[in-house]
């Protein structure tokens, strides 16, 4: 399962998360053990890309010249339906509580998750 997961932080077009086989904890930042119970060998899983907007900010002051070309952009924290939270970009109309689904877009030479209203996708 580990080998097949697409992970945008490693160049893929997907969102990966981890799951403890011992205590069932779910988390986002990858590591070699469970941060809750300490058990080893957590499973890496592919997320559905579906979730709910938890927080949002419209960034107009970018940290560097390359990103300045993309301003303004919306940064969101999304509660994934699998039970972890992630940071991503999103459609400028998104509000807290909106159900969303991610596609992948290019930002400064890498693919990043970009959330849009879930109903608008179909």
């Amino acid at each position: 399962m580990t080998a097949e997961c697409e992970d945008w932080t490693r160049g893929g077009a997907g969102i990966a998360y981890q799951n403890c086989v011992s205590c069932q904890a779910v988390w986002y930042f990858q590591r070699e053990f469970c941060p809750v119970c300490g058990a080893g060998d957590p499973v890496i899983r592919q997320a559905s890309r579906a979730g709910t907007v938890h927080a949002r900010t419209r960034v107009t002051r970018a940290p560097n010249e390359e990103l300045r070309a993309h301003t303004p952009y919306l940064i969101v924290l999304v509660d994934a339906e699998e039970g972890f939270r992630l940071m991503a970009h999103g459609d400028p109309t998104l509000e807290i509580g909106d159900r969303v689904h991610a596609r992948f877009v290019d930002l400064a030479g890498r693919k990043i998750p970009y959330f849009e209203p879930a109903d608008g996708r179909r």
């Binding site: 932080t9 988390w27 986002y28 930042f29 938890h54 927080a55 949002r56 900010t57 419209r58 960034v59 107009t60 002051r61 970018a62 940290p63 560097n64 010249e65 990103l67 993309h70 303004p72 952009y73 940064i75 969101v76 924290l77 939270r85 992630l86 940071m87 991503a88 970009h89 807290i96 930002l107 400064a108 890498r110 990043i112």
Partner: protein, 378 residues
């Protein structure tokens, strides 16, 4: 128990040509003079860090430069909470008998010593290098996310946040060392340049050059009778993505430990020195610490509650938002001002009958919390 025997503070703003060691030296000299102590009296040294002068051993670099040969010296790093964490460490070192007079000092030419982009990028590194920074997230963006959620849950409008920026500027107008002293209005805050909405330029503290220092001592060295009587910390996460909540942070548990160790209640507090990197930071901390009801920090501010002659004087020097923010020294100015208030030296800003202060700082994105209880002894 430990005494704060002296404080030193430079003006904040532009100090062209002055480096980290220069600004640290200016503040240290002022603190020594204030405490009526000599270099030879200093047997402990605690420093923070400087983004314009990264070094593995800043404390000994400074000791050599300033002419100290302490028996105890090192640097610590807790982001914006570093200043109060250094005071807490010095307090416990005094209590455990490691040293008799500890110099706590910071300084940085954060404004004129680097480009604006460089400052923004250095600070953004408190974000996660793989999961956050590549998205173009900045410190204001992390706090903008927190602001959106906190305001959504507790019903604050942008006006409520703006009131705190107006308050800090009003206070700074009475301090000759403040970086920004021209009065501002709520409308000016609301109309200022968007940065990471809902945060706008005037919701954000500036980048500054400056230095601050204090002496923490076993014995009194002069007429001042200000002492640290309680301390606490809490660390809940580093990255905002990994925070368990965007509406409840470590401030309450940190301050509860400080109050318990001091044997006081929140109602005893009559001066507040609270970290204010952004208006949302100050709003959340005031409300989580129990100094304002949830949703009401801005309203209380507008009513004069936090004025120097109000019910609970708050950051009477102007805070990070208007006195300025030079990194580690930023929050140390809050402690210096607390000392000025408790020793009756705040001049036009002087509050009446202040005796017991709560100081609270945070580092990262409300990640690391440090609380201090400081009192004027009878």
């Amino acid at each position: 128990m430990s005494w704060i025997t002296g404080v030193g503070l430079t003006s904040y703003g532009k100090h062209p040509g002055r480096g980290t060691l220069d600004l640290m030296s200016d503040a240290a000299s002022a603190a020594l003079g204030d405490a009526q102590l000599e270099r030879a009296d200093i047997d402990g040294l605690v420093c923070g860090y400087s983004t314009t002068m990264p070094h593995l051993m800043l404390a000994t670099v400074f000791a050599e430069h300033f002419g100290l040969r302490p028996g105890y010296a090192h640097a610590i790093q807790v982001g914006g909470a570093t200043g109060f964490a250094m005071a807490m460490l010095a307090h416990h070192l005094i209590e455990s008998g490691v040293a008799r007079n500890i110099l706590v000092v910071a300084g940085e030419n954060r404004l004129t010593g680097q480009s604006r982009d460089s400052a923004v990028q250095t600070l953004a590194q408190v974000g996660h290098p793989a999961y956050e920074v590549p998205l173009g997230a900045t410190i204001p963006a992390y706090y903008g996310l927190v602001a959106s959620r906190y305001m959504h849950v507790y019903g604050h409008g942008e006006t409520d946040l703006a009131e705190l920026a107006v308050l800090m500027r009003r206070h700074a107008g009475l301090h000759p060392g403040a970086q920004f002293r021209e009065p501002i209005t709520v409308d000016m805050v609301l109309g200022s340049k968007p940065i990471a909405l809902p945060l706008k330029l005037l919701d954000c503290c500036p980048v500054s050059d400056g230095g601050a220092a204090f002496l923490i001592s076993r014995d009194r060295s002069n007429d001042f009778a200000v002492r640290i009587i309680g301390t606490g910390q809490a660390h809940t996460h580093q990255h905002i993505t990994a925070a368990a909540s965007l509406t409840q942070f470590g401030a309450a548990s940190s301050a509860a430990k400080a109050r318990e160790s001091a044997g006081i209640t929140i109602r005893d507090i009559d001066y507040a020195a609270i970290y204010d990197s952004f208006t949302i930071t100050l709003t959340i901390l005031l409300e989580e610490l129990g100094l304002a009801p949830r949703g009401n920090a801005g309203t209380l501010s507008a009513e004069g509650y936090f004025d120097h002659d109000g019910k609970l004087p708050l950051n009477t020097h102007g805070g990070l938002l208007s006195y300025g923010h030079c990194g580690v020294g930023g929050a140390m100015a809050h402690l210096v001002e607390t000392h000025m208030q408790l020793t009756g030296r705040a001049g036009k800003r002087q509050a009446k009958n202040t005796r017991l202060a709560l100081l609270h700082g945070d580092g990262g994105v409300l990640s690391s919390h440090v609380s201090l209880i400081v009192e004027r002894a009878a």
